[in-house]
Symmetry: C2
Subunit: 133 residues, 2 copies
Amino acid sequence: MIDTDIRPGEIAVTLPGEFDAGVYFIGRIRTPWTNRVECPKNARGSDAICTIELDPRYATGLAGVSACTHLIVLYFMDRARRDLMMQAPRHHSDLRGTFSVRSPVRPCPSPANSEAPSRPSAAGFGRSGLKFE
Amino acid sequence: MIDTDIRPGEIAVTLPGEFDAGVYFIGRIRTPWTNRVECPKNARGSDAICTIELDPRYATGLAGVSACTHLIVLYFMDRARRDLMMQAPRHHSDLRGTFSVRSPVRPCPSPANSEAPSRPSAAGFGRSGLKFE
């Protein structure tokens, strides 16, 4: 099964013909996982070392993050399909509405993770288990 | 002062010439506030009745949200400027890095609010103090 397959019972809708707004990728998250199926269900599911590489253009914006208890990291999974409204998550036996699960498969694919920063640098930040570059 | 003015000490960067990805507006949030300056600092700052209107196209995706303890609502402030990396928040006397504050002024303007759903319907959801349509 590849990332874009639809599972039995899942419901897709027709998306609008054009986008309403654009986003800039302010950086890249490097992880050991190369496809969605391999990703842990949540951050507690792995001790892997991951890296957030922030575009140096935005480095000034990191000022003061070391004083934050948590950072909310929104990431865009650019290959996740965006049209499913009912989904069959791997960890559930039943179908779930897209807005009741944290799946990256949604109209605007922005899963959120809350990270406690520990070592902010000029170009990155993270929590225990994250490496900074 | 209008929303797009720059305050003393704030630092802007040159944004990329094009977007990396697009988003769909899946609905609209209706509030009593018509400009950013009037908005409360956070949800505890007001008891105003607000409404989330979900595009009926996506209504199926609400299945099961009543079982969620919280919903994370990401909203796109389309008129917020996106180029400031150091900001002078109204509630602080010093300058702050963009990634250390929750300001909607950021490269991808997606503030997040966590809402406890109480009355999901076919076309909306929310918490105490939010009205559903």
